[in-house]
């Protein structure tokens, strides 16, 4: 399993802010996903209703998770597949290795999968003499660079075009050294031709799953490149890795989730390839795998049920929360120190690896609320980060200064009149400083904070005073 570096968030973040290459990449990428998502959402007037439905589908599934997982497993087996229930990452790794060994696998192709990163599948296979080959373009270059993804849908979010060219030149030694990359398309073409042979040679293909369908026993992957489909179609064996919360009841439920997923992720109306795999190659089929395995992983999820973090299990890994997060936008994904970055990572990582191992992570937030407002399944991310802060506080894991600040806040919060006055004063002061610009590039006493981000200027009044004003206006009508 990938080592957890989350307690180093502060140091990681400082390093990230000083990394000019990273800052350039973040600057280039920033906004691309945002604009596209906004357009896609604007083009579907029902989007807001679909979000409510999506939230409800996931809640219904979680409340009956045992039933739907058993139904899913029964249908996989009816279609000639096999389900492997794994409580821990270790169990899942051993299961994958055993399947690979049972067919004498030498190379394994892989579709992009975050659960594979979480489980540390690649290291484990490599350690046992099996070569994993990442085939998603972004994952492929990261494997060449021996790096981890910095984003859950765009793994190479932190790289610039120059990095791609330099690495390809350095590592694709079978090609002429002085070749020219005129455009990005040349880089894509080189990866395509280099990986073709790997696809054809692989004995086993490993993919993740965006959804599992209880009704039909299908695993669903959503991709744009086609690498996931080549991975699960060409080798003799297909292994789908999925955590238990990926299941939805029916195809109709999946359709609703799919209308949300691509729009929230890349701003596409639908991804290029949305593929449902159900069991093994049929008798008359001319292609497709002879073995179909689903490795169903808990790895800490059941512990989240019944807690204030249960709602996090609705997550469909679209990455909208990190795309819209000012903290992520300033420091990138690696600073978060584990597999899942951004707001969803700040909530999920402590749940999966323990708050004692993640330290400051739930503080990596400005509490601007943007993540919750774009989350397709309406996960209350800021509230959950607050829950973690409270838990952390209770356990006295917080440095003394933060504890006293929180105490001060608590003292104020319990005295509403004072609190309102204090926040109003604070806001007036900020407003004066911003001088109508709408955002501050720097703030006295908070330069460590404003260096890496723009603080949106408060819009003149607190919620409480705006609310009071509206109430008064209503009263007059």
């Amino acid at each position: 399993m990938q080592t957890v570096h989350s307690p180093d968030f502060k140091r990681n973040a400082a390093r990230a802010l000083a990394d000019t290459g990273l800052q350039k990449a973040l600057g280039t990428a920033k906004g691309a996903f945002l604009v596209r998502r906004a357009q896609a959402v604007a083009n579907l007037p029902e989007f807001e209703q679909l979000r409510d439905i999506g939230r409800d589908i996931k809640n219904h599934t979680l409340a009956n998770l045992d039933f739907y997982l058993e139904a899913f497993a029964a249908n996989v087996e009816r279609a000639g597949g096999k389900v492997h229930w794994c409580s821990t990452a270790e169990e899942a790794r051993e299961t994958v290795l055993a399947i690979c060994r049972s067919v004498g696998a030498k190379t394994v192709t892989k579709g992009k999968s975050m659960i594979s990163e979480e489980l540390g599948i690649n290291d484990h296979l490599e350690h046992h003499g099996i070569t994993p080959v990442e085939t998603d373009l972004g994952e492929y270059i990261l494997q060449l660079r021996q790096e981890t993804p910095s984003h859950i849908i765009a793994p190479a979010f932190h790289l610039n075009r120059e990095d791609w060219e330099a690495d390809f030149r350095r590592l694709h030694t079978h090609l002429p050294k002085d070749r020219v990359f005129n455009e990005r398309a040349d880089i894509v073409a080189e990866a395509r031709s280099t990986l073709r042979d790997r696809f054809l040679a692989a004995d086993v293909g490993i993919t993740g799953a965006n959804f599992l369908i209880a009704e039909t026993g299908s695993s669903v992957i959503v991709t744009n490149e086609g690498n996931g489909d080549l991975t699960q179609t060409l080798p003799r064996v297909h292994i789908a890795l999925a955590s238990i919360e990926k299941v939805v009841p029916t195809l109709e439920d999946a359709c609703n989730m799919l209308r949300l997923l691509a729009r929230s992720a890349t701003g596409q109306d639908f991804s290029v390839y949305t593929t449902f795999s159900t069991g093994v190659r049929r008798q008359e089929d001319l292609d497709g795998p002879e073995q179909y395995h689903v490795v169903l992983v808990d790895n800490g999820r059941t512990n989240m049920l019944g807690t204030e973090f249960q709602e996090m299990l609705r997550c469909i890994r679209c990455a909208a929360c990190m795309n819209h997060c000012p903290v992520y936008g300033a420091v990138g994904g690696h600073a978060y120190g584990w597999v899942y970055p951004g707001p969803m990572g700040s909530v999920l990582t402590p749940s999966l690896v323990g708050i004692d191992k993640t330290g400051l992570l739930p503080n990596a937030s400005t509490f601007c609320g943007k993540c919750e407002s774009v989350c397709p399944v309406k996960i209350p991310l800021p509230k959950m980060m607050r829950h973690w802060r409270e838990r952390e506080f209770e356990r006295h894991l917080t440095p003394a200064t933060q504890r006293s600040n929180l105490k001060l806040w608590a003292w104020f919060a319990k005295r509403p009149t004072l609190y309102r006055l204090a926040t109003r004063l604070g806001i007036s002061a900020l407003h004066m400083l911003a001088r109508g610009k709408g955002a501050f590039a720097s703030l006295p006493l908070a330069s460590g904070w404003t260096k890496g981000r723009d603080l949106p200027a408060p819009e003149g009044e607190t919620f409480m005073s705006a609310y009071a004003r509206q109430q008064r206006a209503k009263g007059r009508r």
């Binding site: 029902e46 998770l65 058993e70 489909d229 009841p249 290029v272």
Partner: protein
Amino acid sequence: MSKEAILNGIRRGLKRGPLPADQQAMLAGRLASHPRHLQPARAQLPRPAQVALFLRNVEKEFGTVERVPHAGAVPGAVADYLAAQNLAPKFVLAPNPELWAMPWSERPMLEFHSGRAEATDMVSVQHGFVGVAETGTLMLPAAPTRPTTLNLLPDTEIVVLKASGIVAGYEDAFDRLRAENQDALTGGFMPRNIMFVTGPSRSADIEQTLELGAHGPRRLHIILIDDDPAALAQDAADEAGFAPLPGAAPAWTETAPATDTWAPPAPQPGVAAPQADQG
């Protein structure tokens, strides 16, 4: 057993035991009735507008389209497309009786074999099942007559689709499949694989900038057969003197494709070719 451990963990978390029988029956009922959710209004259109929306969305996603009046015009459309793209007139054809029945011999330059795709195949001609108007998405369920590799290995994929196969949403596509496909292994309707394809392969992994032609086809071309009078704009339908009949075999079905790699159609149990919707 980890299965029991996981199920018990779920129940512990949810603070309950196994679900009572009546609750289980209710959930089984939900699976059996698989209720639909909200259907976006954008695709709930009269037939001609629905087909037009499908085509518009295909093009928006960088696919290309040609409409032909009847199945007999497909070989010509394939030949002309390949010539226009400067591609060799060679392809792998889905082993589908409807495709086999087309007058390929009228275009003797075309060279093809019928079967699954291999790494050396540069062009495929695939049999389309359904087109989803909502997003310009093709539904391609795997079948002996519709191998999955045709959607993946070639550089160029040409999909032959009937206008009668165009539906509003993904749920409508699944309804067609539920009605028309019988899977011998499971007794259900799901084939081993269903690909929903929206435009040619692409990647935005380099600086979040879109590049076409990642690992799958660089080009996706759809040849749409206007077999559905209701799908034509009324004046166009009149002009075409449109009256296709189900099962009325045109003369050219007698001619077997004249290439040496062609294999005679084998009976395909359990796989229903999509029926033209004349309704």
